[in-house]
């Protein structure tokens, strides 16, 4: 959907610097690969320092060109991170839903970003590898089908918490981080929150779209000048989810305002 930039008439386009952070092997590069090339590789070369990719994301009112800095996840590369998140307008902090430690690390990154990155940075918390959980497995064929995904995420919510371990034992569900836990944390910190699967593609584009929407207009460097065009903030078929998603108040508000002009 993001590739459909050409479908519409020229819209104002602006670039957004986005950085991916998170523990090693949570699937940062895979998320990017899915988003940029709609592809998935089992053996992705490890990122040395950081990889740079771009992808356009078309919103009803404008086109956002993401300049994506995909950083290395190995712990020791952390000290390089400030180099990459410098001036970033958005960040994707990724964890692995099957690995609780990765959420801890993600929280550290969120804290780091909130204190050190540019003020007003839009942060999305992303739990990846949904395909390894029961709710993710169900949808695998219907990758990208927002409706079913929405339902499955709902399932996740219910199945979360105490039942986790039971589920684990019974059905081989690898999920170790409940949706509820992550949601409440994201809510607390005012983060966007998604659970995704880079393998199946579930929710991947949605993450980037939500971020694109949440970027305050004021912080956009517009390439072709601000054009006309008013419209809905969210893409039609995904509005349901967007309301489910914990858009931080701040972001939600600015996003809507932003599109008003």
């Amino acid at each position: 959907m993001s590739e459909s930039a050409s479908a519409n008439a020229p819209k104002p386009s602006s670039s957004v610097k986005l950085v991916l952070l998170g523990e090693a092997a949570v699937g940062k590069s895979s998320l990017v690969l899915r988003f940029v090339n709609n592809d998935f590789q089992e053996n992705k070369e490890p990122t040395i320092g950081a990889a740079f990719l771009t992808q356009k994301c078309s919103l009803p009112t404008r086109t956002i060109k993401f300049e994506i800095w995909d950083t290395a996840g190995q712990e020791r590369f952390a000290s390089l991170a400030p180099m990459y998140y410098r001036n970033a307008q958005a960040a994707l902090v990724v964890y692995d839903v099957t690995k609780p430690s990765s959420l801890t690390k993600a929280k550290h990154w969120v804290a780091e970003l909130q204190r050190q990155a540019s003020p007003g940075i839009v942060i999305a918390l992303v739990g990846n590898k949904l395909d390894l959980t029961n709710d993710g497995g169900d949808v695998s064929e219907a990758a990208g089908a927002a409706q079913s995904e929405s339902e499955s995420a709902q399932d996740g919510d219910e199945g979360a918490g105490e039942e986790d371990e039971v589920q684990d034992a019974v059905s081989g569900d690898a999920r170790k981080v409940s949706t509820r836990e992550a949601t409440s944390y994201a809510e607390e910190e005012g983060l966007l929150f998604f659970e995704t699967s880079a393998k199946t593609g579930t929710n991947v584009v949605d993450v980037f779209t939500a971020i694109a929407n949440a970027i305050p207009e004021s912080s956009l460097k517009t390439g072709r000048g601000t054009g006309a065009g008013t419209g809905q903030t969210s893409l039609g078929n995904r509005s349901a989810e967007d309301s489910r998603v914990n858009l931080g108040d701040r972001h939600a508000a600015t996003a809507k305002e932003g599109c008003a002009c």
């Binding site: 670039s15 090693a24 092997a25 089992e42 053996n43 992705k44 070369e45 490890p46 990122t47 040395i48 320092g49 950081a50 740079f52 771009t54 300049e67 800095w69 290395a72 190995q74 712990e75 020791r76 590369f77 952390a78 000290s79 390089l80 400030p82 180099m83 990459y84 410098r86 001036n87 550290h108 804290a111 780091e112 204190r115 050190q116």
Partner: protein, 1159 residues
């Protein structure tokens, strides 16, 4: 033949005092040591030190002219090439280089790195050789003109194979030493020694060399250097995965075959092809034999051959040789296999990380799509992670090692990786990657300097260069350029060192300069470079008329730009620029690390302020690093003493002259052991500073005392041990930052007195059952006194006249504080009493002890001072029974202190009334208190309550107060702390007047006015002693039940001695109680004293031997001053020495001995 420049060189070196050098060990200052520069230049293992150095001519005889071992110098001069340079000798190597060197130990960094200047493509080792001594088969002294000292070296070259090579000619080279006869002789002597040792290593040499492709190449099977398959005689050595999966690139296009032939000729010393006759200058046309692998001689051709790119099969070997990793392998040929075997089956974090990346390392090369290649990669990375756990595994190493493995065997790659991590890419792969970040800064600053226009543009368009260039450096261009080209860069990189990475990087930017100036953001910047890299094989001048120009590829152009245009970028440029940015880079990393780790300390830490956490963080690491550093110094010292083990144990150990650790440098120690923890506490709390810098028994036995030489020395008290155990998750492992923060957070985090009381109780609840037994109670009281012996810093104030010492109630302020201290002492004794009073009996079954009367005796004794059941229910150290209390305050204090002891001793004089022995005190009636009891007892006393409410938590100084770390054994300290001489100055100098002048000379004088403070401390310290005494007696009672009263009395007399003479002796220091002259002496003395102190210690330790087991108790004593510790120490130990005789006399003896020593 000798060029003019070499004359100059020779002349210079003759004047050079370095000719007569003694090997210098690494100096602690910042400049690299001579040894490390030497090792760097010749890429030698860390075990090597420069032993001898002399100017010499290297004469390489032509094969056709000198096969008959001619010895005439004339003939030699006529034939072959001659180089002038420096000849160096280390333990195991003899090196010759034309590169100017100066390793004068006193030289500054810049002066001593002259060799790092222009190397004209030869690398730091220049022309010459680096021969392991084991390669030398024979050395002859040549008869020649008397003024020339000539040696002929014959090597094992060609003899290490089992089969004789056709047309074998032994490799022989001639060295003409230039120097005084003496210097030459000395050089030869050392050489002889080295050769003898080297002989033992010929077998290693044989093993190592057999892995070298050159041996195979020259072994005769391929006389003409063809690459056929005549493997019937023997298998070629493992020259990497390329032998199985083909080497990258088109061999024909790379002209691999002719390169191979050229190398063969270079080794063998024959020119056979027309091609080589055209390519090489006349002087090189009929070269001598140059040897091979370890025995290779480097002439200009060698370096040229490297520049044009190495042939596939020899690439690994030459990398190994030029990087120096061959020497590492030679040093421990089996290390790789041994490491793998040793750690077989074990797991680690690094292994997990490696496993994740195995399938994604150069996946485009077929070898790494196979189990064979992946297996090799896994083994090399794993083995390295074991041998260098500080680095472990860092992403990008997988790519580098994968690349190496295409050209070399596993063992070779393993050692080359270690050379990379240790020397060529220092700090690149460390846990903080400071080396990577630093070199990015260096690169940026070089760009700014050499291409200011481009730099301006980058700054303006906000493109961060390092973001682009970082992977170039981190993975050595391997995943940036197509492999064939990356390997060409590596060829030069291993020879010339890190500067090559910079030169190539700069050249890339220069070549693409115009296009880059058009870019506006990171994205376009990166894509310009990406497309450039993908077209490196295309013509650099596709539209040129000149076919020659058209034939030049972009890569060739790049190399020319890199090494011609940026030839000014030398090793010293890099070194200097690194030095310039190092501080800032490390600071950045440390800020980041501190920020991150403080933030991640968990919920517990939130109870402390961020400032406090920052303070803890800083102090924690400062302590750790200083501790580590000092231990290193000590190790160094021990190592120096063990001359025999001069070889370092591990070849991979970091160079000896690394600086003090920093967080930013990466792999940092994370846990502090108990001793480091004491340091930490000493920097945090006053009470944790030892009273005397004298070593405690424990330390002197383990030689640790030197660790604290001239520094604030931490105390060693049981309380601190408890704290340590309490805070540590695993005491074996030590305390990490989290433990310390949690520990402090519990103490300081909440101002809740209950919390503090509970905590304290917990500390002493050994069994964890909520009970503290008698022993514990006494220990608690001891700890209370220990903690309070430095006073309360105003956190505790006694309400006047609450207690019974009303005679002093309304004195001035100082005396008020005196009463506080004194009262606290009272409180503690009341504490003991009450504890026993309210204790619950436990395990009544233990009652059945025999020896009734002895028990009774013991009980009575205890009662006499522990139970205040005499008239007014006074605190047990009250003074009324011994002396009247109405004397002036200081006097009272003194007497109090004294009488306390007196009381302990003379138990059968008074208080014998305590018939109604409290069964609680009977050691045979085990008892305990519970937390509620403890709490009650504490709260029952105003001072104790205040102690737990404010003093105890506040005695841990974090950021809230400017910390007394400044107080490090300084004057503040000595004026604050007390001495017994203060006491003495107040007391009437009755007893040992004889030793007065001596004591005076030995210091112990505290400026007037501080005396009062000293008295207080003495009281407290005596209190501590008392608690110790109580405990000891309890023990005694339990142990020596059959002991009779008389024997005991004697025993106690000894202890008595221990106290009295000390006081008397120091008391005599100021006969008139006027210390003014002494004060002057003190000032003048300090400096000298601190110099002498270490020496003193030896003497003191001697004295302690006399003192024997008393030492431990001594350490509890207070009132020791840095300055006057010596006499005190001596006196106390002398006093504690058993035997008749007047203690005073003995004191006099020892002291006079000491004084002699000092003066």
């Amino acid at each position: 033949m000798i060029p003019w420049s070499s004359f100059v060189q020779k002349a210079q070196s003759l004047i050079d005092p370095a000719n007569f050098n003694i090997p210098a060990l690494s100096s602690p200052d910042h400049n690299p040591s001579k040894a490390s520069l030497f090792r760097q230049q010749f890429r030698l293992p860390d075990s090597q030190n420069p032993l001898q150095e002399i100017t010499a001519d290297l004469v390489l005889p032509l094969p056709n002219s000198s096969t008959n071992q001619g010895d005439g110098s004339r003939r030699i001069d006529r034939a072959g090439n001659t180089y002038t340079g420096r000849l160096h000798l280390s333990e195991r190597f003899i090196c010759f280089s034309t590169q100017p060197t100066s390793f004068v130990p006193s030289a500054t960094a810049s002066a001593s790195t002259t060799w790092t200047g222009q190397t004209h493509g030869t690398g730091p080792s220049g022309n010459g050789f680096i021969l392991p001594l084991s390669c030398i088969r024979r050395v002859e002294r040549l008869h020649s003109a008397s003024h020339v000292f000539s040696l002929a070296l014959t090597t094992w070259n060609g003899l290490l194979n089992k089969q004789q090579e056709p047309n074998f000619v032994p490799q022989r080279l001639i060295l003409q030493l230039v120097g005084s006869r003496q210097a030459c002789e000395r050089f030869c002597d050392t050489l002889k020694k080295g050769l003898r040792e080297g002989m033992k290593e010929v077998d290693s040499l044989r093993t190592v060399v057999s892995d070298c492709y050159s041996e195979y190449l020259l072994s005769g099977a391929k006389g003409k250097g063809q690459d056929g398959n005549e493997a019937d005689t023997r298998q070629p050595p493992d020259a990497g995965l390329g032998l199985i999966f083909r080497y990258p690139g088109d061999a024909r296009k790379l002209r691999d075959r002719s390169k191979m032939r050229l190398w063969g000729e270079y080794f063998r010393g024959k020119r056979t092809s027309i091609f080589s006759l055209i390519v090489f200058p006349t002087s090189d046309r009929y070269p001598p034999e140059n040897g091979r692998n370890a025995m290779l001689i480097r002439q200009p051709t060698f370096h040229k051959l490297i520049r044009v790119g190495l042939p596939n099969r020899l690439r690994g070997e030459i990398w190994e040789l030029t990087s120096g990793s061959l020497f590492l392998r030679l040093q421990s040929p089996m290390l790789y296999q041994q490491t793998l075997a040793k750690f077989d089956g074990q797991e680690s974090l690094a292994i997990d990380e490696i496993e994740k990346d195995l399938n994604r390392s150069l996946p485009e090369y077929p070898g790494f799509q196979s189990e064979e290649g992946i297996g090799r990669l896994r083994r090399v990375l794993t083995a390295y992670s074991w041998i260098d756990p500080e680095i472990g595994y860092c992403q990008a190493m997988n790519i580098v090692v994968a690349a190496l493995l295409i050209y070399m065997s596993e063992a070779q790659a393993f050692f080359l990786l270690s050379a990379l991590c240790d020397r060529l890419l220092p700090g690149y792969y460390s846990t903080t990657m400071y080396g990577t970040l630093l070199d990015q800064k260096v690169f940026e600053s070089l760009v700014e300097k050499t291409m200011p226009v481009l730099w301006d543009h980058l700054t303006k368009s906000d493109v961060q260069l390092s973001v682009v260039s970082l992977p170039w450096f981190l993975s050595l261009y391997i995943n940036s350029m197509p492999l064939v080209f990356a390997f060409r860069v590596l060829d030069v990189f291993f020879l010339e060192g890190p500067k090559v990475l910079f030169q190539v990087g700069l050249a890339i930017l220069r070549v693409n300069g115009e296009e880059l100036l058009e870019t506006q953001d990171d994205g376009s910047f990166i894509s310009v470079l990406k497309s450039y890299f993908s077209r490196l094989d295309e013509s650099a001048h596709p539209r040129s008329e000149n076919p020659k120009l058209r034939a030049i590829t972009r890569f060739q152009e790049l190399m020319v730009v890199a090494f011609k245009e940026f030839s000014g970028i030398t090793h010293s440029t890099i070194t200097e620029t690194r030095e310039k940015h190092k501080g800032a880079v490390l600071e950045n990393i440390e800020t980041f690390a501190k920020r991150t780790s403080i933030r991640n300390l968990g919920p517990e830490s939130k109870r402390l302020s961020v400032d406090d956490l920052g303070t803890i963080y800083d102090r924690f690491y400062e302590t750790l690093y200083q501790w580590e550093q000092r231990q290193k110094v000590i190790e160094e010292e021990t190592r120096r003493q063990e001359r025999k083990n001069s070889q370092r144990l591990s070849m991979l150990a970091p160079p000896a002259d690394t600086q003090v650790g920093r967080v930013g440098l990466g792999p940092s120690p994370t846990h502090m052991d108990y001793d480091a923890f004491r340091e930490f506490l000493a920097a945090t709390s006053k009470w944790a500073v030892a009273d005397s810098p004298g070593p405690s028994t424990k330390e002197s036995s383990s030689g640790k005392s030197a660790l604290w030489a001239n520094r604030r020395q931490p105390a060693d008290h049981e309380f601190m041990q408890r704290l340590y155990r309490k805070w540590a998750t695993n005491p074996e492992e030590g305390l990490n930052l989290q433990n310390v923060v949690n520990g402090l957070a519990r103490l300081k985090g909440s101002p809740d007195i209950m919390n503090n009381i509970n905590y304290f109780f917990d500390l002493y609840d050994d069994s964890g059952n909520g009970q503290v037994d008698r022993e514990g109670i006494l220990k608690i009281s001891e700890a209370l006194l220990f903690l309070s012996r430095r006073g309360f810093e105003g956190t505790i104030t006694a309400t006047p006249s609450v207690e019974n010492l009303n005679s002093m109630a309304d004195r001035d302020h100082a005396e008020n504080s005196l009463t506080t201290d004194e009262k606290f002492l009272g409180s503690v004794s009341a504490f003991i009493r009450r504890c026993f009073e309210y204790a619950d009996p436990s395990h009544p079954e233990h009652q059945k002890t025999d020896q009734q009367d002895a028990t009774a005796e013991a009980t009575e004794k205890l009662d006499s001072f522990a139970i205040g059941d005499d008239d007014e229910e006074e605190d047990l150290i009250d003074v009324d029974d011994a002396k009247p209390t109405n004397s002036p305050a200081p006097d009272v204090a003194t007497q109090l202190a004294k009488s306390t002891t007196a009381e302990l001793v003379s138990h059968n004089q008074n208080h014998s009334t305590s018939e109604s022995a409290n069964p609680a005190l009977d050691p045979n009636n085990p008892l305990h208190i519970t937390l509620p009891t403890f709490r009650m007892v504490i709260l029952a006393d105003e001072l104790l309550e205040q102690f737990f409410e404010s003093y105890f938590p506040q005695s841990f100084h974090l950021s809230d107060h400017p910390h007394p770390a400044a107080l490090a054994a300084s004057s503040t300290m000595s004026s604050n702390l007390t001495t017994f001489s203060n006491l003495g100055s107040i007391r009437s100098p009755g007893l040992a007047a004889g030793s007065a002048p001596i004591a005076g000379a030995s210091g112990g004088i505290v400026p007037p006015g501080k005396g009062l403070r000293g008295v207080l401390d003495n009281i407290v310290s005596d209190g501590i002693r008392m608690a110790a005494e109580v405990k000891k007696r309890m023990d005694e009672a339990q142990r020596d039940l059959e002991r009779n009263a008389l024997g005991r009395e004697e025993d106690e007399d000894d202890e008595d001695d221990e106290d009295y003479p000390r006081r008397e002796n120091t008391a005599t220091a100021i006969p008139g109680g006027i210390p003014s002259w002494g004060a002057g002496a003190y000032g003048a003395d300090t400096e000298r004293r601190s110099v002498v102190r270490d020496a003193d210690r030896d003497l003191l330790e001697g004295a302690e031997v006399l003192g024997g087991g008393k030492e431990e108790r001594n350490s509890l004593l207070d009132g020791k001053d840095d300055v006057n510790h010596a006499p005190r120490k001596v006196s106390s130990s002398a006093a504690s020495a058993k035997g008749g005789g007047s203690p005073t006399v003995r004191d006099g003896e020892v002291i006079s001995k000491l004084v002699e020593f000092e003066s």
